[in-house]
Symmetry: C2
Subunit: 772 residues, 2 copies
């Protein structure tokens, strides 16, 4: 019974290392056709006409669809409504109807016998477009065209979170600090691009769909509604996925086109996104412009926070609705004691790729904006930035604390144990004071070295999930749950939770993820909720199995259920190890008339559902030591460290890997990755030469420390969710380190910290110093 | 809410009539291989050697397997143990090891790229066989070779059912009657022969198997155990089936060979039985030799019954174990008041095809033996055969009655309402007295016309079954249950049961049968139990859905759950029809946080399990009027009628069709069908020229009357099971009619009543008359 907490090797790796992974592109159906999507080459235009004749006549072409072929079909809905905001006018149809609104907007679908012929045919689709003006900036472009969102620049809605009397707080403040900060446009760009295979079985009247990897049950419902099928006519099957990061697996236009074409042609249809498509078609993320104001009393205690932000949602509102805006806004106070706060975010359309939730959505932004402003405030107040944080961090005596807000309908209960204590221990652990001293020494030698830190507040685990655990008469144990294997090792984690209950090797537990036939409902893998919510459902299901096994085994062993202990997959009478029975034998007995009861499922099967009443709030700290090349503006990270309080690690090695990977992604978004556009709205990063991933040479040795000081009180596993904390604080810590290195009096202004931006900061500082 | 009881058209027919049925042979998997089984050409031999070289070298051959390749693999187990009998020595291995024991015994398996090449290669497998003596008669051959069952003629075990002091009853009797009767060897021979397709997915580590149609969950467990897989690694999928009748879908040697070869080769494997194979390989049935003794008091009341029988189980004991013997033996008293009874059946091996349960197993036999003996007794006692039955039939005042026996562990509770009343009403309805009078008149004109009747006791509905009913947010309703669609219309019946609960059209309910992924456990379709047990599970599942829907809808409508009534797929406040909500909308609400609860499955999903504590006992009467051709001995049925008390008919048209079809099969077994063997054990009926199915021209107009006077008290639907009553009484009624036509003083002696047998009876009667 020590499966939980052990860094057991990943169960997934056996098949992956032997080349037996189940990625969507490896699904080959007899007679399958290939979809190629024709996309808009311009950012904004009226469609005067689409000539598909040449494409239709091309060898191999089976069908060419345009919006006219989808008449009456609704656009892709949002899956998370936001009170007070009507997204309807901003939803994306599967194929653009009348106008195209970003480069990459799907306008036609070509179905062919061959993937290469499909590409050739797609190029023959002739678009007659009348170009229109573009809107590319959410702040300056907001309501440029109030008469019609069709020109973009429309405000979809404003998300507003407030508590306390914030204007009074500012009126009473001894010091206030105000700054504007911008976060660049980047996103999750998984190694494996998206793709889908759909196969309609006219005999069974059922569609099988491979490739949905985030919220398959939601996608099944949307597919059914759009195609006029019943949910049960659609079978979504898990595949492996080469990364997800929140952007893979949402319902995109292609998620309708692929099954629709399978249904219409009666043949299997496959679609695999190419890299350039991916970089313009899959959700972008992050781009926001912020104004933040902080009010302090004379003792440097925070009295209030005012924030306003403009979120660039791209040309349409996709499935997440306003989730990013909500999480940016509601969590702006972070882990601090702030008596009054008002934070609002305007969701604004532009003629760019629509955005979605990418690892730590909103939190990358609010942590960056608040923590960078805190360093600015420390300077202005003449106090050490570490000390300013220490003064204001929530400590043990104040926690748990109900912040007077609701997020997604759930009360915002800060369930941490002691943010201050975590920060203190964490700095001590990494020797952060030595980093700072080292940087100071380097600077005295003329090097541009700085150190920065950030305390972060994360969130995880809202919603519900279900699981089913069964033990067969052969003794085989299986768990099915609603998560997705996107590389994080969820199979291993779920197997550990089950193995713990039955005291068996983790490797003996088979795991099925998001097979909509085997498990009736599941929520998916997003928002660091799989272990918190899904894992708890798994535990509840396993406990149910064990309860029945105890009852039946007690009869078979002539004992009382309470006398039985679990040992190595058996139930034994406590103290009499020879009086035992294997769970498989108990399962076999459960199918005999003696133990089958009306109203109770036969066999050893447990169904668990866990509905989290509130989110859990993991927290941590990020530390960076950076050196700037004064000649090029290049930022080199010398040291990096993350501490993260996650309550309990089911598999520490996997948590470590997740935090590490997340940190690397954060570094990418902070220093390298940038979806830039030219003034006509043409994307400048459509290959991996232009959209720069972090590589090993870009990275320092990253230290990760998992804290298990504060088990989450809301779930029986005590877990807090660990998927996003590595990403959430990087922008802040690195910006603070660069600010320190350059000795800025202001802020870095914007992310990413590309050499050109850093050079500009260096030049501005030099001018400032010269002016003195 | 009038779906139950309506003769709605079959839902199955839409796909079947459009050529979209899902028969196993229509499953085509990319890269599939074909299995051909090499079978023994002799009835008993030692295998000196098998030379597979030529077959292996044949074009297309992928593998040739013999018993040596299955070393260590257990034989096919029985699925129904019989207390006190050890079947182990008599079980069949997938491939014969050392000896072959009947013509058709599988000795090798050839796997080829092509089905025709597979046949050719199979003919190249050279068997070196040393022929051994054969045993072909269960009664005279029993224990011919007590030293070893390998020569066949071994008594596997004896099934013995007794109550009361039967010897005292006979000692006190005023009259006793003794006779020996034999039932011939025939079986279910469905239009579609057997077949299986298995596909091993090495990526998912799962086997999909199409073609299991009777007890797929049992077969899955056996497959898993034999292959060393977990049950959950095997996905059994429903197919349509062109008839089953109890013999299709048991676990046969081929049910191991097909998935085993798929696992070993990593390629899909298909096997489709040809007709000649089918006639020697699929279970035979029925062959039994009986002695029956009846004891009467002076008022013609039955005092006791003694029976002894020898059941020919063929060369091995197959999955049913001793089920046929148990049902023959335990039910021998039939629907009569018999104070003391002892009936035993010896299960004996022979060198013939193994047998199994075929429609009305045991009941075709016991009803024939008892009812034909009753007619003999009536003659001997000088009482009218109808009157003799009336004197002895259980009447309302005596029912329900606990017969002091247990069948399959369940008490034998005769749950009928009034057997005498049924018999009286039924004769009246069909005008049976007029049939008899008509026959008498015909005989006065020199024609050999006679009338006969039989009262029958059937049984149905033991065991358990499970079902899951769900309503999606689209409003789509689905039910999954553990039955099999073998032509009887089970999809329609299950849809009706669900439609009744939700007041929706039957056609709007989708039905999934025996998909082991969608439904975790099910029992299958056999023993007239699908509607009784499975249908009740479906009803319980639907009730569970409705209970949750009521609770949630009450909140949404601002009403109390008890106020709500079901109307046309909606819940409405009683008396306020405009305050209503569709079940699909309720389902959608059930996925929202407001209604998802820890410990309760989300959505509108109900899981029902029903465990029948005892069987239900349907009953009825058969009537025949027959004319014998004095020149050829051919029996022509002039009239036939069946009345059957089934408690409640969910779909009267389907029940009618089942009884009709069953009667036709009974006529086949009584007059035409006969698996004869020559003295070396070579089968004489290996084509449909030799094994004669009844055809339209062989049949009279058959009247069927369904009685619903006595709803089964044990299940909420009140159903009794209707699948086998058409078959169970034919042997008896026809034999009695022929006996009447010929004016026999003795019995017909044996079934089937082939012309040669009938001519022999005519000649014996003539000689008898001449002797007078």
């Amino acid at each position: 019974m020590n499966a939980i907490g052990a860094s057991v090797p990943r169960l997934e790796d056996d098949r992956l290392l032997r080349g037996l992974g189940r990625f969507h592109d490896e699904i080959v159906r007899p007679g399958q056709l290939w979809l190629r999507v024709v996309r808009s080459p311009v950012a904004h235009a009226r469609i005067r006409g689409i000539d598909t004749a040449a494409a239709a006549a091309h060898p191999g072409t089976v069908a060419v669809l345009t919006a006219a072929d989808l008449a009456g079909m609704p656009p892709v809905p949002v899956r998370q409504p936001a009170p007070g905001i009507d997204f309807t006018p901003y939803l994306q149809s599967a194929l653009a109807d009348g106008h195209v609104r970003y480069v990459g907007d799907p306008v036609a679908a070509v179905l062919s016998e061959d993937p290469y012929l499909a590409e050739d045919a797609a190029e023959l689709v002739a678009l007659d477009l009348e170009e229109l003006p573009v809107s590319l900036d959410a702040r300056t472009g907001a309501d440029l065209h109030p008469e019609s969102w069709r020109g973009a620049g429309a405000t979809v809605g404003t998300v507003d979170f407030a508590y306390g009397d914030v204007d009074a707080a500012f009126a009473a403040a001894a010091h206030t600090v105000t700054t504007d900060l911008r976060v660049g446009r980047h996103s999750g760009t998984p190694l494996e691009t998206r793709g889908l295979v759909a196969d309609w079985d006219a005999r069974a009247r059922r569609m099988t769909v491979w490739g949905a990897t985030k919220v398959p049950y939601v996608n099944r419902r949307i597919t059914a509604q759009m195609l006029g099928l019943a949910e049960h006519q659609i079978h979504m099957l898990e595949t492996d996925a080469g990364g997800s990061f929140g952007i893979r697996g949402e319902f995109y236009p292609e998620d309708l086109l692929v099954p629709l074409l399978a249904l219409r042609t009666g043949r299997p249809v496959k679609w695999t996104e190419d890299r350039t498509e991916h970089l313009v078609a899959a959700n972008h993320a992050r781009e926001q412009e912020h104004r933040i104001e902080l009010a302090f009393d004379a003792e440097h205690r925070l009295l209030g926070l005012r924030g306003e932000a403009w979120m660039d949602t791209g040309a349409y509102v996709r499935t997440h609705g306003a989730v990013v805006a909500v999480l940016t806004s509601a969590m702006m106070s972070g882990p601090y004691r702030i008596p009054a706060c008002r934070s609002r975010v305007h969701v604004v359309t532009t003629n760019k790729t629509p955005v979605g939730t990418y690892r730590a959505p909103g939190r990358f932004q609010h942590n960056f904006v608040r923590e960078h402003a805190m360093d600015l405030a420390a300077d202005r107040l003449g106090v050490d930035p570490v000390e300013l944080r220490r003064i204001n961090l929530l400590h043990g005596g104040e926690l748990p604390q109900q912040r007077p807000l609701h997020i997604f309908g759930a009360p915002m209960l800060l369930d941490g144990k002691d943010h201050l204590d975590h920060f203190d221990k964490s700095r001590e652990l990494f020797g952060y004071e030595a980093w700072r001293e080292e940087a100071r020494q380097a600077r005295t030698q003329g090097r541009l070295v700085g150190a920065g830190c950030a305390v972060i507040l994360e969130k995880a685990g809202l919603g519900h999930d279900s699981a089913v655990v069964d033990i067969g008469a052969t003794g085989a144990i299986r768990v099915a749950m609603g998560g997705a294997n996107v590389g994080q090792g969820v199979e291993t984690v779920m197997a550990q939770i089950v193995a713990e209950e039955f005291d068996v090797p983790t490797g003996s537990v088979a795991v099925v993820l998001s097979d909509t036939d085997i498990l009736a409902d599941g929520s998916g893998t997003f928002a660091s909720r799989t272990t918190v919510v899904g894992g708890t459902a798994v535990k509840l299901a396993a406990e149910q199995v064990l309860a029945k096994a105890r009852r039946v085994a007690a009869v078979l062993l002539g004992a009382e259920p309470e006398q039985l202990v679990v040992h190595a997959g058996c139930l034994a009478v406590d103290g009499e190890p020879e009086r035992r029975i294997a769970l498989g034998q108990v399962a076999a007995a459960c199918y005999t008339p003696q133990f089958v009861r009306t109203g109770e499922e036969p066999g050893l099967i447990g169904r668990g559902t866990y509905a989290a009443g509130a989110m859990t709030y993991p927290y941590g700290a990020h530390y960076a030591q950076a050196e700037v090349d004064p000649g090029t503006g290049a930022v080199r990270l010398l040291r990096y460290a993350v501490s993260y309080e996650i309550g309990r690690a089911v598999n520490p090695a996997l948590v470590h890997a997740q935090i590490l990977g997340g940190t690397v992604q954060g570094i990418g978004g902070t220093l390298l990755e940038d979806f830039r556009y030219d003034e006509r709205g043409l994307p400048l990063a459509t290959t991996l030469d232009e959209y720069r991933w972090p590589r090993a040479g870009d990275l320092p040795d990253i230290q990760v420390e998992i804290f298990e000081d504060a088990p989450a009180p809301g779930n029986p596993l005590g877990v807090r969710g660990a998927g996003e904390g590595g990403t959430a604080g990087v922008g802040a810590a690195v910006a603070n380190a660069v600010r320190d290195a350059l000795g800025l009096t202001g802020t870095v202004g914007a992310l990413p910290l590309h050499p050109d931006r850093v050079m500009a900061l260096i030049r501005a500082t030099d001018e400032e110093e010269e002016a003195i």
